[in-house]
C-alpha cells in the first residue's frame, strides 16, 4: 500500500527535470563560490530580482493551500477535504523549502542566515519574515511527518504526532496568515520605489487574500494534475468545493483591488497605456476577471476541465502579481535612476531547478509515501 507501483520514475519528463535540477545545483555552488555579482544580474538599484519574485513570493503564495486545507480538515473538521490534506501540506512544504533555499542564495552573506534566529531585531519586518519561514517550514515538516512515520512503521512517533496535530495545525494557520501578509508588508518600506498601482497600506491584506485564492486553486490544480499523471480518479465534490471557495475569495480580492485603485492611484492610472498599467491590467484580467466570469457560471464549476482552466488562470494571475510587486512595479523608478534588469541565465536555471526539485520531490513522495490514502483503498 505504501508503494505506488503505477508511478514510473524513469519517464522522459523526469529525466529532463533531473538534468535541470543538477544544472541548478551546480549553478548554486558557483553562486556560493563567486558571489551574487558573478552569478546574477542584480545591482544596487535592483537588489531583488527573479529569485525573490518567483521563488520566494511565488513559492510562498503557492504554499497557501497547505494551511487552508489543514485548517479545514483538522480544525473545522470538514471531512470532505481529508483526501487532499496530505498532498496539500506536502505541496506547501515544497513551496516553503523553495522559498527558504532561495532566500539562502539571494542574501549577500548566505552563511549568516541563522543570525536573525539568534539576534532578534524585533522592529525589522525582515525579522518577522525570516522567523516565520523557519517556524512554518518546521510546522509543515511536522504536519507531513505522519507519512514518513507510517512508511518507517514508527507507531509511537506516529501516535504522538497525531495527538499534537490539532495544535500544530492551529499554530501553522496562525503563522501562515502572518507570514503571507508580512511578505506584503516588506514592500511597505518602498513607497517611493513601488508604483502606486501596487503600493498601498493594504498590501499585506492583499497578499494574504490573493495567497488564499492562489492556495485554493493550487490545491485543486495539483489534485487534478496528479489524478491525471498518477491515473486515479479525482473527487469531483472536493474540486467543486474548492472552486466555490476560489470564487468567494476572488470576489473579496477584486473588491479590495478596486477599492484600493480608486482610493489610491485612480482609475485613469490603469488605462493610460503605460508599462505598469498594462502589467496591472494583464494581472487583473488573467488572474481575477476571467476566473471570476468563468467561475460564476455553474457549468464551469461542475466540469473538471473548466475548473482546471480557471486554476491555471488564477495561479498565473497571482504569480504575475508577485512579479509585478517584486520586479515590474519598481521598474519605472529603477529605470529612471539609470538601471536595467534582465535575469542572468544562472538566475533562470536556478529558478527552473527549484521548480524541478519541487515536482520531482512531490513525485518521489507520491511513489514511496502514502500520499493519497483514500484513493487507493
Amino acid at each position: 500500500m505504501t508503494k505506488n507501483n503505477d508511478i514510473k520514475m524513469m519517464t522522459p519528463t523526469t529525466i529532463v527535470l533531473f538534468i535541470i535540477l543538477v544544472a541548478g545545483a551546480v549553478t548554486a555552488v558557483y553562486r556560493m563560490l563567486f558571489g551574487l555579482g558573478a552569478a546574477t544580474n542584480l545591482n544596487d538599484l535592483w537588489p531583488w530580482g527573479f529569485w525573490i519574485g518567483v521563488d520566494v513570493l511565488g513559492g510562498v503564495a503557492m504554499a497557501a493551500g497547505g494551511f487552508i486545507i489543514a485548517g479545514a480538515v483538522y480544525i473545522l473538521n470538514w471531512k470532505k477535504y481529508k483526501v487532499i490534506v496530505r498532498p496539500a501540506i506536502l505541496n506547501a512544504f515544497f513551496g516553503y523549502l523553495l522559498a527558504a533555499v532561495s532566500i539562502f542564495l539571494d542574501i549577500g552573506r548566505s552563511f549568516r542566515i541563522w543570525h536573525p534566529m539568534v539576534m532578534w531585531q524585533v522592529s525589522s519586518i525582515m525579522f518577522i519574515v525570516s522567523i516565520h519561514v523557519v517556524l512554518y517550514t518546521t510546522t509543515l515538516a511536522t504536519e507531513s511527518s505522519p507519512m514518513i512515520f507510517e512508511k518507517l512503521g514508527m507507531k509511537k512517533a506516529l501516535g504522538f504526532v497525531n495527538r499534537i496535530m490539532a495544535p500544530v495545525v492551529l499554530f501553522g494557520v496562525l503563522l501562515s496568515t502572518l507570514h503571507q501578509s508580512s511578505l506584503g508588508a516588506v514592500y511597505l518600506i518602498i513607497p517611493t520605489k513601488l508604483s502606486p498601482l501596487w503600493y498601498s497600506n493594504k498590501l499585506p491584506y492583499m497578499f494574504l487574500v490573493s495567497a488564499v485564492m492562489m492556495g485554493l486553486s493550487m490545491v485543486s490544480f495539483e489534485t487534478i494534475l496528479s489524478a491525471r499523471v498518477f491515473k486515479h480518479k479525482p473527487h469531483m465534490e472536493v474540486l467543486k468545493g474548492l472552486a466555490r471557495g476560489t470564487l468567494i475569495v476572488i470576489c473579496v480580492y477584486l473588491a479590495l483591488k478596486v477599492f484600493d485603485l480608486i482610493s489610491g492611484a485612480g482609475i485613469s492610472a490603469v488605462f493610460n497605456g503605460s508599462f505598469t498599467s498594462n502589467m496591472w491590467l494583464l494581472e487583473m484580467v488573467a488572474g481575477v476577471i476571467l476566473p471570476l466570469v468563468l467561475l460564476s457560471m455553474k457549468s464551469t464549476r461542475n466540469r473538471l476541465n473548466s475548473i482546471f482552466v480557471v486554476n491555471i488562470l488564477v495561479i498565473l494571475g497571482v504569480l504575475l502579481n508577485r512579479l509585478n510587486v517584486g520586479i515590474f512595479g519598481v521598474a519605472e523608478y529603477a529605470s529612471m535612476a539609470g538601471s536595467d534588469y534582465f535575469p542572468s541565465w544562472m538566475e533562470l536555471i536556478v529558478t527552473a531547478a527549484m521548480i524541478a526539485f519541487a515536482v520531482l520531490g512531490f513525485k518521489v513522495c507520491a511513489k514511496y509515501l502514502d500520499l493519497y490514502p483514500e484513493t487507493q483503498h
Binding site: R303, N305, L313, L316, F328, S335, M336, G338
Partner: protein, 386 residues
C-alpha cells in the same frame, strides 16, 4: 515641583543611578547622548563627553516663561520620543518653573519662582516661549498680576542665558502678524530695549524641532557655552542651511517637475511643491534632515505633501501668504545629489523584455488552457466512465 526638589536634596544620588531606577539603562543613556552629538554635528566620540557632563553635574536649574503662546512648543517637546524622553528632560535639568507642567499653582507657584530665582541667581537658564506684548505697557498678557514684559525683564536680567523657543519668542511669530494688535515682540528685542545683555539663543519654528532645543541645552551643559550662532542668534547646526538644500524633493525642482495643484498628478508623484508656494528656498531650518517624531522618512511637512510655509523665518512665516511663491534670494546648490536620472521616464529595455516575456508566457499559457480546456466536454464523461 517642591517634592521633587526636596527628594534630591535628601539623597544625593547621581543622575545615572536615578535614570537606572527609572528603567533607563546606561546603554540607552549613551545612545541618547550620542544621538544629540550627531544632531549637533559633533564627532561621535562627543556622545561620551555629553554623557559625562550630564551625569556628573548638579542639574542646572531651568525656568520656563510662557507669554503669548499656544503651548505647541511644550507639547512637541513632550512628544519627542527618544527613549523615555520625558524622564530624561526632567532628570537632566531641574525644571523649576513651567506654567504647563507645574505641580503647584497660584501663589505657591509664583513664590517658588521667586525663591528659585534668588537661589540660582546668574546660574539658571531661562526658556521663553510665546511673544511678549509691549503695546499699552504690555497689559495684554499678565501672569500673577505682572505683565509678561516685566517678568521677562526681571527674569532675563538674572539668567545665565535665555533660550527663546518657537517663532513667537524668536521673532514674534503668529501674534505679531499684521496688524499686530498687542505689539507682540520677540524676547531678545524686549531685553535689548531694556539694555539687558544676557546672551539669547533663538530656536524658531512653529513648533521647532524638539531636538534642536535639546541639543542646544546639552551643548550648554557640556561645553559651558552656547553653540555657534548666526546673525539672528539661531544655532548654526540647526539653521545653517536652507530647507531647499536638503529637501528630498530638490531633484524635482532642478528638473523642473512641479505639483501645480493639490491632488494633481505631479502632487501624487511627489514632485516639488515650489509652485504651491513652498517657502523652502528662503527658509533656514534642518527639517528635511532631522525630521519629526522619529518615525522615519518623509515625516515633515513637505514630505507629507504640504508646502513649507517658512515658520522659522522672520518676514516669511505668517507674513507672506501661504501659496505665494517663494523668493529664492539665496541661490545654493543641493547638499547632495540624488541618483542621476539620465533617462526619460521610460522603462529600461532589459526589464521591458523580461516583462514582455512574462506577459507572453502568461497570455500564452492562459490562452492555451482556455482554448483546449473550455471546449472539452468528452473528458468529463470519460472521468465518469472510469
Amino acid at each position: 515641583m517642591n517634592d521633587q526638589k526636596a527628594d534630591t536634596s535628601q539623597e544625593p544620588v547621581s543622575t545615572l543611578d536615578r535614570l537606572r531606577e527609572q528603567g533607563v539603562s546606561r546603554r540607552d543613556f549613551l545612545k541618547f547622548c550620542t544621538g544629540v552629538a550627531v544632531a549637533l554635528g559633533l564627532p561621535l566620540g562627543m556622545g561620551e563627553a555629553i554623557a559625562e557632563a550630564v551625569a556628573n553635574q548638579k542639574r542646572p536649574p531651568v525656568l520656563w516663561l510662557s507669554a503669548q503662546e499656544c503651548t505647541g512648543c511644550t507639547e512637541s517637546l513632550l512628544r519627542s520620543n527618544h527613549p523615555t524622553f520625558e524622564k530624561l528632560i526632567l532628570e537632566l535639568i531641574s525644571l523649576e518653573y513651567h506654567e504647563t507642567l507645574l505641580a503647584g499653582c497660584g501663589k505657591q507657584a509664583e513664590d517658588w519662582r521667586v525663591k528659585s530665582m534668588k537661589e540660582n541667581k546668574g546660574r539658571y537658564i531661562l526658556v521663553v516661549d510665546g511673544s511678549i506684548p509691549v503695546k499699552d505697557n504690555g497689559i495684554y498678557c499678565k501672569i500673577g498680576g505682572k505683565t509678561a514684559q516685566s517678568l521677562l525683564e526681571e527674569m532675563g536680567a538674572q539668567a545665565a542665558a535665555v533660550i527663546a523657543i518657537g517663532s513667537c519668542a524668536s521673532w514674534g511669530g503668529i501674534p505679531s502678524a499684521d496688524p499686530n494688535p498687542t505689539g507682540a515682540t520677540s524676547a531678545h528685542e524686549v531685553l535689548k530695549m531694556k539694555g539687558i545683555t544676557t546672551p539669547v539663543v533663538n530656536i524658531p519654528g512653529c513648533p521647532p524641532n524638539p531636538y534642536n532645543f535639546l541639543s542646544t541645552v546639552l551643548h550648554l551643559l557640556t561645553f559651558r557655552k552656547l553653540p555657534e550662532l548666526d546673525e539672528q542668534a539661531r544655532p548654526k547646526f540647526a539653521y545653517g542651511r536652507l530647507i531647499h538644500e536638503n529637501c528630498e524633493r530638490r531633484p524635482h525642482f532642478d528638473s523642473g517637475r512641479f505639483a501645480v495643484q493639490f491632488g494633481d498628478e505631479g502632487h501624487r508623484k511627489g514632485y516639488c511643491l515650489y509652485k504651491l508656494g513652498c517657502k523652502g528656498p528662503e527658509t533656514f531650518a534642518n527639517c528635511p534632515s532631522i525630521l519629526y517624531n522619529d518615525v522615519g522618512a518623509g515625516a515633515w511637512p513637505v514630505g507629507t505633501g504640504h508646502p513649507c510655509f517658512g515658520c522659522t523665518e522672520k518676514g516669511v512665516g505668517f507674513t507672506v501668504p501661504l501659496h505665494y511663491p517663494a523668493r529664492p534670494k539665496y541661490i545654493t546648490p543641493p547638499t547632495f545629489f540624488t541618483e542621476a536620472y539620465p533617462g526619460k521616464p521610460e522603462v529600461a529595455p532589459g526589464t521591458k523584455a523580461l516583462a514582455a516575456g512574462v506577459a507572453g508566457a502568461v497570455i500564452g499559457a492562459a490562452g492555451a488552457a482556455m482554448l483546449t480546456g473550455l471546449g472539452k466536454k468528452d473528458d468529463e464523461n470519460k472521468d465518469k466512465e472510469e
